[in-house]
């Protein structure tokens, strides 16, 4: 018997996006987008006729999200049409004793929504699934030790599919230089003799594409949350049987795509190419654009027109032009200002000294007062 599992996590509901200088309306949409993504995940799981909707940690961004957000999340999860929803506390929404977050969650959760907050097997036969979940719930934000120990010590294993559920880093796969995020090892997971491990924490899905070899999969975050997240958001759909056969595939789930581009431009054609690249598909793109290089004076002055068109075509754009400058050479200076005139003297002296930033400042300022 094979069971179809919708594997997601790291949704981070309640993230505020205060950490960058987003305008308020952009922030509001990004915050709301995460709830919409959850709804889209459930819709997708229903469409795929998944039996188990598995959230492998960090459903919420922190343990003190507003009650309303918890109830909103539950309302969305309740619309799952499969047999069971299982939610694991991650390191962001860790479950400690008397956690208010999970108390609200549990009080309002319907019977088919399970919170995997105990270190014990969860038998899903009550939900007509011949499957047992072996969770490793997070009970703090950081920990140098994972929570797999209890599985190692467990004697009898039930029949049916045995699925491990954990949240944390895997050595060699996830960046965790200080070993603070419940670190696990691939060998350790394999030795626990479960049919498969569904993991959360790393925001990038692993392994990529279809694979039958890895004892574990990371689902990745379903909605990118910043410029350090280059993909467009993924979840995984896993088919698993009690012989350990599994098929796992990624599905694209996110709305927003964060692009960080650093481009060297030599002329306006380079900018025009960038404009063409985003043409018609930029409304959900957040772009952090760093332009470097030098442009001839006329092109430099004309760049704004193209940049503004690009900006308008995107959901949001953050521009860094600190490394972009007008091409100022002795010839440029001589061409633009009369010899022995003050601007000529000033600019050529800065150019001689190789003070490129000062040269740019002086040039911009002269242009400004010359208007």
């Amino acid at each position: 018997m094979r069971i179809k599992i919708f594997h997601t996590g790291d949704i981070h509901l309640g993230m505020t996006y205060n950490n960058r200088g987003y305008p308020q309306e952009v922030r509001n949409e990004l915050v709301e987008a995460r709830f919409k993504t959850l709804a889209r995940l459930v819709e997708l799981a229903n469409h795929e006729k998944c039996k188990l909707f598995l959230v492998v940690g960090d459903l919420f961004h922190r343990t003190n999200v507003p009650r309303q957000s918890v109830l909103q999340a539950l309302k969305i999860l309740t619309s799952f049409e499969g047999n069971c929803v299982a939610v694991l506390p991650g390191n962001h929404d860790f479950r400690d004793e008397f956690s208010a977050l999970w108390k609200v969650f549990l009080d309002a959760a319907p019977d088919n929504v399970l919170l995997l907050d105990r270190k014990e097997p969860y038998d899903l036969r009550d939900f007509n699934l011949d499957m047992t979940l072996f969770p490793a719930p997070c009970d703090s934000k950081h920990s140098g030790e994972n929570r797999l120990g209890w599985i190692r010590e467990l004697g009898m294993r039930p029949a049916g599919i045995k699925l491990g559920v954990a949240h944390g880093s895997v050595k060699g796969i996830s960046p965790d230089f200080d070993g603070r995020y419940f670190p696990m090892e691939e060998r350790e997971l394999a030795e626990l003799n479960l049919h498969h491990w569904c993991l959360g924490h790393t925001h990038v899905t692993y392994p990529g594409g279809l694979t039958l070899e890895s004892p574990f999969t990371y689902c990745g975050t379903p909605e990118a949350d910043g410029f350090d997240c280059k993909h467009s958001g993924f979840a995984r759909i896993i088919l698993l049987d009690d012989q350990g056969n599994q098929e796992s595939r990624c599905v694209e789930t996110g709305r927003f795509k964060f692009n960080e581009l650093g481009i060297k431009i030599n002329n306006l054609d380079d900018l025009l190419e960038l404009e063409r690249e985003f043409a018609g598909k930029g409304e959900n793109i957040l772009l952090k654009l760093s332009l470097r290089g030098t442009l001839p004076r006329y092109e430099y002055n004309a760049r704004w027109e193209i940049i503004n068109r690009i900006r308008e075509s995107l959901f949001y754009m953050e521009l860094d032009e600190s490394s972009l400058s007008v091409e100022i050479t002795f010839d440029t200076i001589a061409e633009e200002f009369a010899r022995e005139s003050f601007p000529f003297l000033l600019l050529s002296r800065l150019a001689e000294k190789g003070e490129t930033e000062a040269l740019q400042v002086a040039y911009q300022m002269i242009k400004k007062v010359n208007k």
Partner: protein
Amino acid sequence: MNLQKVRLFPFGGTLERDVDFSSGVNVILGPNEAGKSTLVSAIFAILFFASSLRKNSSDWKDYFAPYMPYPHGDTIQVSLAFKCGRGKEYILERAWGEVKKDRLHLPDSSEVNNPDTIAELLSPLLQYGRGTYEGVFLARQADLLHTVELLRSNSEATGSMAETLRNLVFQSGGISLEVLKEALLNEKDELLKLWDLQKGVPQGGRGIDNPYKRGRGEILSAYYEVEELKRKIREGTALEVRVENLSVQLGEIVHEKKEKLEPTLKNMEKIEGEIQRRAMLEPRLALLHEKEKSIRELNARWPQVVERQKHQHARLQEKIKEKAALEKELQAAKFAMEARTQRELLQKVKPLVDELGEKKKELQELPQINKDSIEALEQLDARLAQLQTTLKAMKLQGNMTCENPLHLKVTSGVGESQQLTVEREIIFEAEGRLLLQSGDWTLEIKSGQGDVTGIISKIEKTKNTLVQKLHALAVNTREEARHIFDKRTEKEKIVERLRVQIETLLKNNSYGDLAKEVSQLGPEQSVRTLDLIGDDLKEAAVEEKSLTRELRDIEAQLKKWENEYDSYEKIVDALVDLRAQVREVEKELDKLAPLPDKWQSPGAFMLSLQQVREKNRSSQETIYNLMRELDQAKSELPEESVEELEERLLYSKRKFNNLKDRARAVCMVEHEFQNILGEVGSKAFDPLVASLQKYFTPVTGYRYDMVFLEGSIPERIGVSKGDRELPVNLLSVGTSRGLALALRLAMAEHLWGREGGFLIMDDPLVDLDPRRKEEAARMLRDFSKSGQLIVTTCDPGTAQLLGGCCRTLEPVVIT
């Protein structure tokens, strides 16, 4: 710019006046109150003040308030026609007050009514700002004398001048260096305000704990943002650690409570009731055992006590008898002792009684001379001695001669008579009286000094009294009386002493009674001493008392036992009952849960249970407290996670560093800017100096030909061939006015440049002497060849000197 015509309708006291101007020299001639200064103010007002000027501004007070028509006018109005560029004609109209108007007729006959647009259009036509016009081109009479001082504070005019002069040295390249400099300084200020770029810290060391609230530059704001983020990260990390620690602590204590305390408590509580019962029964059983042991002991002891009671009772009876015998012996001993005492007393008293009898007898045998008698004798004796002394003092001495022997009885004084035989001569000495008796004659010679007779009589009388007294006392002399008296006194003392001794010994008894009593005592008995008998008696009493007490205790003990057990025979019954109770308790104890080995006694178990309960309760309380703390810590967690804050910090640090780089770049630009200015600055003002000297030398009557500038402002004047130099603040009024005139002309000349322009001066030649006035007029005429000069004066002579186009203003008539 060339002025063509100005119209005031009305402005100040002028209801309506048109004044035309030509190029070259224009002289406005008019007496005082003709409106010359009003005209100058009107031209300045229309060029620089829009109709919307606020009435509470200082400009309104300076340029408009004094010119409102008096008493009822509320609007003033001016129009000015001028030409610019290649003869393009403009007409500017403005009205201020209740009716407001701003209108500029352009050369193409179109008109502009928006004040802002008019200002924008006028700006290039005027070339310079209001400050430059105030300082150089439009010289009101009051300002002319103070030109140097006014220019010193007029940065716009001096800036324009400096810039114009620099443009003579190098081309500006189409930019205003002053504007560029200002832009540079503004940028630098916006970036670096309150920030020390060199040290890389806020000025005054005011960090994030004591930040500047206002006036921050961009770098300081970015720095505070970075520091604030660092603080938030520190606080957020600390809070996260606190939440984690609390969570771990809570987990541990909950685990201990659930896994250890509660199971232990449950197990203990399960047997608590039975252990409690055991705690009651075990002491009871011990008590019953104790009681059984006690009854067994009593069983043995009761007969012993009864036996002892009997024995001690017998001893007591013996002791009572012994005590009675001793008391009797004591009485007999006491009697014998008393008899002995009486006898001994009689032996002591009897000799004293005998002696007393003898002494009384001796006393009775002595004459009864008492103390009064002795004193009376002594008084008489003294009286006699006194009288005799008096008589002795009456000394008589006589010499008697006789022819024949003569026998005489001679009595001197009261003395005894003597028989004398005088042979022939004799000398008699007598005291008071000499009585010579010789047979047939008696010769009595008495002292004439006093009453010899009386004295002698008294002596005789006293002697008789004394003799009688002595006789009555049966003595012959007073000494004898005294001797007897002393003897009596001695005897009386002895009698008294004896009597007291006897009384003391006998106390209140009489000697007779004593003697009688002694005679009646029988023979003397032999007895033990009272002390010996007393000691034996005391010992007997103590023993009696001790026996009595012991018997009383025995009786009480027996009574108690009888009360408890009725009788000795019933003790066995009590023992049987007790054994039955012991068996019953032991049976019940066997049924109860055994005391776990861990505890020595049920009491220790109960104490331990109480401690576990307390620990459980205390754990619960700790859990509640930790929960509260955890909730509090969670609620304090920042909305942004530490990871988000760290990302934001990277972003802010980048921004901060970029701003610092930009500030360094701006400083570098400013540095080079100043370098270039410094390099050219030394020669920039040379043309102004040359022009100034050209105008200044004639108006000083050629006394001075050197002017030294600080920037564009004159500091000193001097003579080229000599060392005579004067600071400008020490110049005379005439020379100052000349310098001001020359300075304005020199500055105007350079500011105009090739474009030309107008210069208005309100009576500039006043205060100059005729020669200087003439030179100044010539100079102005020369000056007007390169531009339009409008000069007002009230002096027709000055107007004549200046020549040119003269307009005469009639005094304003106030109706």
